[in-house]
Amino acid sequence: MALLEIQDLHASVDGNEILKGVNLTINAGEVHSIMGPNGSGKSTLAQVLARRDAYEVTRGRVLFNGKDLLEMKPEDAACEGVFLAFQYPVEIPGIGNAYFLRSAMNAVRKYHGQDELDAMDFLPLYKERLKLLEMDEKLMNRSVNEGFSGGEKKRNEILQMAMLEPKMAILDETDSGLDIDALRIVAQGVNAMRSPERAFLVITHYQRLLDYITPDFVHVLVDGKIARSGGAELALELEQTGYGWAEGDAQQVLPA
């Protein structure tokens, strides 16, 4: 059984159809990348999968681990193992990073009928993962993302992923705005998490991140549909040709 199965997914926001029939199957252990020009629907797809209710699904279905993902609330999807690394992580003053993360982990554990982690169980793990992402321990007690630089925010997303250990991690333009060092650290965090039980959906506008995270499959999303799929070499090709061909008529015959 596939881990994630997206069939003919249509979604709108404020009456505008953004996704116009997306089909995609992802198996455990695979890394898929979705590329595409701005406005093609990449982030919308990520948000729909994370169950943001601002997006209305008008047609199609999505199965996650055999369950209907579109019936789930955001928290249920998260507890089932869907993780979205936000393109724009939110600052939450007044809630400490460590407290927030422990609450999130315990919410997931509770969902699965497991005992809650106390601070003694949590802290060693947290500190270890902070090291992996080359983050300062002082960040632990600061408010969630408050006053973080762009790179720190993105690393904090990957840190949360590393702690929550999802089945399916969706990275929404995690590479945008990162300098090369931050990019390397983020990729290092992702690569450390690759496993036969876990799948990744890496959404990116550029090929750059894929120098560090080698995808098994690359898909090109154009005007709300997957226009082309291929292996890692497709990303390199796109780097050369750009998306110019896609911005005209998406239905035209694509370059080989």
């Binding site: 994370a50 169950r51 943001r52 601002a54 609330k73 955001p74 928290e75 999807a77 998260a78 507890c79 979205l84 936000f86 992580p89 939110v90 600052e91 939450i92 003053p93 007044g94 809630i95 927030f100 993360l101 609450s103 999130a104 982990m105 919410a107 997931v108 969902y111 408010s143 949360q160 929550l164």
Partner: protein, 486 residues
């Protein structure tokens, strides 16, 4: 009779006004009679001044600029009376739940009168004098004060700071007060544990009025924390009109906590008047969680150079609660700094008021004053009136103020949910984070822990009420956002 035709309306309303105040006149007569033999002349004069002011002006109305947003007409019509003597049958067990863990002592006032049986005042830390004010005055008069106790300082401070000319509640309190706490922190003494003053209203079937009067004298270089805590037992309406004068000597460091957690029928007016000498560092924390109609007046005067004042507060209202905060910060000398931070959470039809007035007098150069008022409205029917007022007579000052009104935002809510927290928990966490900003500004561990628990309990109750759990609507049309620098 003739006048009735032309002036009938006015006359009638005046008669009504007088009738309305009759219960207060009666109370004043009683207080005077009871104090006739006991009280020193200066105190009788003080009462007289307070009463004549109050009798001439009466209670404020919404025509009064300082009371524009708070209508107390219905409360004024209620015939509140002084409580009968006696302990209302309360046992130590009845107030057990109100105690503060880690307090240096607890002084309990039941319906405005000191209750030695319910108080815990043994083994006081060195340098701290605590006494019921009426008792201290008696000791001062008879010269029977125990060793180390100096009630003679009362005359020097009592009634010297509260403004009976402008503030009719202060005037009424000055005329009618029966008891309260007298605290003296000796020169250089550092009192680590907070002093807990517990004011209990237990009407037991009648509408009771109390006028607690507290005097805190913090001598030079002393340090202490005081918790003034208002609670009710039973559901009766009670009117508590408290005045606290805090005289801080040079370099004194004092934290004052006001906790309002009375029942929803309570009418509570609390006035804190602070006189700050040179180099003093004062923090006031007002936590308004209960009460029906509440007015919280905080009035520090930075009367010495380089004084610092933190005015920190949180108000959480639901149902039809009305919580009014009136801040008046006066900078009278150079190099003073004041910081006001008030956060409000209002659900259902609750109404909040924040009136922040900063006055910088002519000599107060290099004043640094800042004011921030942030509000979360959890329903379409909740309301906040926020009003800054700067009055600057010096030319080299830094004064800023700002206020925000908003709702729980969708973005952080989704972020928390996307990590696995259910919607109710995510909402609670965001509410708590907003409320907890005031906790970060508290330094005393025991008092902070106490406040933390009260706030958490209040928010859990709020979350359980249906209104708060409903999703926030679109952006509030009446909402306003502004930030000014002047």
């Amino acid at each position: 009779m003739k006048a009735m035709t032309a002036e009938g309306g006015n006359e009638r309303s005046m008669i009504e006004a007088t009738e309305r105040l009759e219960n207060y006149l009666e109370a004043y007569g009683e207080v005077r009679a009871e104090g006739e033999k006991r009280e020193p002349v200066w105190l009788k004069q003080l009462r007289e001044d307070g009463w004549s002011r109050f009798a001439a002006k009466g209670f404020p109305t919404t025509h009064d600029e300082d009371w524009r947003f708070t209508n107390i007409a219905a409360r004024v019509r209620t015939p509140f009376r002084r409580a009968a003597m006696g302990d209302a049958g309360l046992t130590a067990k009845a107030i057990e739940e109100f105690r503060v863990a880690g307090a240096a002592c607890q002084i309990v006032f039941l319906n405005g009168r000191f209750s030695p049986a319910l108080s815990e005042m043994e083994n006081l830390p060195k340098g701290l004098e605590v006494c019921a004010l009426a008792r201290a005055l008696d000791c001062g008069a008879t010269g029977c004060a125990p060793e180390g106790c100096a009630p003679e300082g009362i005359e020097q401070h009592l009634g010297r700071y509260a403004d009976v000319r402008r503030d009719m509640f202060a005037a009424l309190n000055t005329a009618l007060w029966e008891d309260g706490a007298y605290l003296r922190i000796r020169r250089g003494a550092v009192i680590q544990q907070p002093v807990h003053l517990l004011y209990v209203s237990a009407g037991a079937g009648s509408e009771i009025m109390t006028n607690p009067r507290t005097l805190i004298v913090a001598e030079e270089s002393s340090q202490a924390a005081v918790i003034e805590d208002y609670v009710s037992i039973g559901a009766e309406a009670a009117f508590s009109n408290a005045v606290t004068e805090l005289a801080a000597g040079q370099d004194a460091v004092v934290s004052h906590f006001l906790i309002e957690r009375e029942n929803l029928a309570a009418f509570n007016v609390s006035t804190l008047r602070i006189e700050q000498a040179k180099g003093t560092n004062i923090a006031t924390h007002s936590i308004l969680l209960g009460g029906g109609v509440v007015r919280n007046n905080v009035h520090p005067v930075l009367a010495g150079e380089g004084a610092e004042c933190l005015i920190n507060g949180l108000y959480v209202g639901a149902g039809r609660q009305h919580l009014d905060n009136y801040m008046l910060v006066e900078h009278a000398q150079p190099h003073g700094s004041s910081r006001q931070f008030y956060n409000g959470i209002l659900a259902d039809e609750a109404r909040g008021v924040f009136h922040g007035r900063i006055v910088v007098h002519k000599d107060a150069q290099r004043t640094d004053a800042k004011q921030t008022n942030r509000n979360l409205l959890l329903s379409d029917n909740a309301r906040i009136d926020t009003k800054p007022q700067l009055e600057i007579h010096a030319d080299d000052v830094k004064c800023t103020h700002g206020a925000t009104i908003g709702q729980i935002e969708e973005e952080p809510l989704f972020y928390l949910r996307a990590r696995g927290l259910d919607e109710a928990s995510a909402r609670n966490l965001l509410l708590y984070a907003f409320a907890a900003e005031c906790l970060d500004r508290m330094k005393e561990p025991a008092a902070k822990e106490f406040a933390e628990k009260l706030i958490a309990d209040r928010l859990i109750k709020l979350a359980r009420s249906k209104q708060a759990a409903a999703p926030a609507g679109s952006l509030d049309e009446d909402g306003q956002n502004w930030e000014e620098v002047g």
